[in-house]
Symmetry: C2
């Protein structure tokens, strides 16, 4: 067992005094992410190069020090919470956009670059990295890759995994490997790139990323149908998909979400049991108009009471921002002053969206719980928000039990997944066998290939053991 | 070491006498695929169920008998050639389409279903499984998944990996696992589904496949610009991609290919140094027209001498069939009566297409070799065809040396890949370190997780050892 002092001295040797901290205020800041979990690391370090990362991972592997790579800490499932203590590697200093190559249509970046900043640079050149997660303003590209993040535009443009062409990864022991490259298509060898995407920091640390970039659509139309019944909105969704239209976004917002938005913001949304935000984009104005027309027609057929339509770019951005900030407003679900909320991130097969939503809603009612329903409904990704006060043990336990009941319905009855885009982290690790059964053993064996001593982000996905779902963890493996 | 008699008796017990053969004529038929390699198995068996596959894999793992799963044997890199002998598992009897669910938009199939047959059934319902490989008429879906096959329509719709949602896989030892499911999007656990896609039968045997299906585009336009210079065609390609147009196909056909097609078929293509077959499709007529107009404009800008355009479905099918059969006609490259040819399957970063093609062509000239250039040029996938007589050792050696020189240019100079869609198999296994360096060690360790005794398709991708590149292999591990 190393003392905190030994850890501190080693890290200073590698990254320099300014980029290490064992100050308790700093450690507290690094003890959490956007999930409702807290666990103190022994130290935090901010490496600046692949070589520094490699040196730290060589040492950590020898000394068996847990390593938790961290982007912006916006992870909703506790992927950046050091539940076994150890060292948090804050990747924020490796934030360079190394190259944007329009000929090859790739961007080469370091993991700490912020999603919106990358898109600002790409946007100047007419390109975009499209997944657009809710945390776009803050999250890092490295974090998105670690969690296979996606968001509003994944329906048409795919999740993060669909845009990653190559990676440089530092493995425990300090070995640096490269996977993939700049080619768009490859059937050469086992696909390690796609294995690393979504590995939640449990296999290694990304130090360079090659992304396929997409020409920015030039035209956009936003259709907002207002439905009296949630059911009608869900049926319109299924029908739009069935007709082969592929909106760039198709977002569901239920009555509770409308109420919250209207109570918080100046902008008032029209009232109904549900709204859809359906965005169609493209490279030709006529194409976008034509698709929007078809969308409008279907929504009318399905009983939309009113339909707002705009092609004004600023207005679309404003309205989509409303949708983006929704998750942050969910703490208003209860009158108390609770800074944290609890958001589920299920996906179900798209044909069962209407039935699954009905059943999940009924479950919430039977538990006497106010539950907001929203999400990227076009690809079956349903977010469910309930407010839980993590400081009250009783509330926490009831919340965990409620989440388990929802997960059982989603996985067992509908063949759904525990996480469409937020990852399992530590908060869903206790449910991992519900979805994966003993296939988890193969995931564990693959982890061992890259991380034989289990130093990388221990706890996530239940890859080492299935961790208890706690609020405050007490790391014991190394000094805190 | 088992005798052939022992192998025969065991297999009869499992699949019944009618579905096992050790007849030398059968074994010879199963000793090859579409590559220029021959190696005799000890026996061939045609299982009918996951349980039969599991029983065989349990026995094979205990007795260390090599197992080579086989679809239609259309693999171009020797993935179905039993280079270490053993048992070929012909999956042709597991060819059921179990379910087409339009609500969830998935098809559940067995591995032996033929690509075109699946699409015939899907087509009746207005859907398609789009990758469209050259072997579409014969190849099986299981084989496509094993090789992450793609083809003409991968540019817009993605390779096979982009359409596989879930798998049932039988592993050595007989364990049956399931990965993924019917959901479109998941960030739950390590992505085993995408790891199995492209694993070339080296990890396990697929027994059930869940595919995401795509609504069939209703309108289509085919633009065929004729260019005086190959260079102009390549520049048009780069420009079309840069403008954000996404054709459903963008195929290059060079002058040698035009000559071959014109000499073999009644259909005569216009003469030039290169043609492009650019197909635009969609769900709205206006959209397709608009995109075709933009494509035409760009081709004219880049100097197309003549442009053929048609929206007639039958005519488009005819013309695309010409492109499809091209690979089969390449044996005409030499006057001799050689039934086999040699097709390279590189991909390079799209920005370097013009330069890479120029250099590869110069290399062929300096070797005094007639080389046809064609392929899915939109995503950087370049096929190079030269005729090699496998029965002449000298010719074979020179061909292998030439292939290595091409590969060195593609990988080392342009950062390209050895295989965009055909897989490495055994024919490119000797080059594996050229592209992957020592990252191959991690692929080998992952193979060990699923196949600890190395019985699954030994030889492919160099996952056990780097096999010599032979024409006729002499398996020695089990009786032949």
């Amino acid at each position: 067992m190393l003392s905190r002092e030994e850890i501190y001295r080693f890290l200073i040797d590698v990254v320099g005094e300014d980029d290490v901290s064992i100050d308790v205020a700093d450690l507290f800041a690094y003890s959490m992410d956007a999930s409702m979990r807290i666990s103190m690391p022994a130290a935090v370090a901010r490496p600046e190069s692949r070589e520094e990362v490699a040196e730290i991972l060589k040492w950590a592997d020898e000394k068996r020090v847990p390593i938790v790579p961290r982007g912006a800490g916006t992870s909703l499932s506790g992927q950046a919470v050091p539940v076994k203590g150890g060292v948090v590697l804050d990747m924020c200093k490796m934030d360079r956009i190394k190259e944007i190559d329009l000929e090859d249509r790739v961007a080469v970046v370091e993991p700490g670059v912020i999603y919106d900043e990358l898109n600002r640079e790409l946007g100047k050149l007419g390109y975009v990295f499209p997944p657009d997660p809710g945390s776009a303003i803050a999250c890092t590209v490295g974090g998105m890759i670690a969690n296979n993040a996606s968001g509003i535009r994944a329906l048409k443009y795919g999740a993060t995994v669909d845009h990653v062409l190559g990676l440089e990864v530092v493995l425990p022991g300090g070995k640096i490997i490269r996977t993939g490259g700049r080619v768009w298509k490859s059937s050469s060898g086992l696909n390690l790139t796609k294995l690393f995407v979504g590995s939640e920091g449990a296999l290694g640390v990304f130090t360079e990323i090659i992304l396929k970039i997409t020409p920015k659509p030039r035209y956009c139309g936003l259709t907002i149908p207002v439905f009296q019944k949630l059911e009608q909105a869900l049926e319109a969704t299924v029908e739009i998909m069935r007709r082969g239209i592929l909106p760039s976004a198709m977002e569901l917002i239920d009555d509770i979400c409308i109420m919250i938005i209207n109570s918080v913001l100046e902008e008032k949304l029209p009232i109904g049991e549900a709204l859809l935000f359906i965005e169609n984009d493209g490279y030709s104005e006529r194409t976008v108009k034509e698709e929007s027309r078809m969308v409008k027609e279907i929504c009318e057929e399905k009983g939309a009471r009113k339909i707002i339509y705009t092609t004004d770019t600023d207005r679309i951005e404003e309205l989509m921002r409303l949708r983006h900030t929704l998750a942050n407003m969910l703490s208003k679900l209860r009158g108390e002053n609770i800074p944290l909320n609890n958001i589920q991130d299920f996906a179900v097969p798209i044909g069962s969206i209407p039935e699954a939503v009905r059943e999940l809603k009924a479950m919430a009612q039977s538990h006497g719980r106010l539950m907001a329903i929203f999400g990227h409904i076009g690809d079956g990704n349903i977010h469910l928000g309930t407010a839980i006060n993590p400081w009250k043990e009783e509330d926490r336990k009831a919340g965990a039990e409620f989440a388990r009941r929802l997960a059982e319905i989603v996985v067992k009855k509908y063949g759904g997944t525990l996480s469409a885009e937020h990852g399992l982290g530590v908060t869903k690790a206790s449910l991992v066998e519900l979805e994966h059964g003993d296939t988890i053993e193969y995931m564990r064996a693959i982890k061992k290939v890259f991380d034989p001593h289990g130093i990388m982000n221990p706890g996530v996905m239940g890859l080492l053991e299935v961790p208890r779902d706690e609020f405050v963890y007490m790391p014991t493996r190394v000094a805190v």
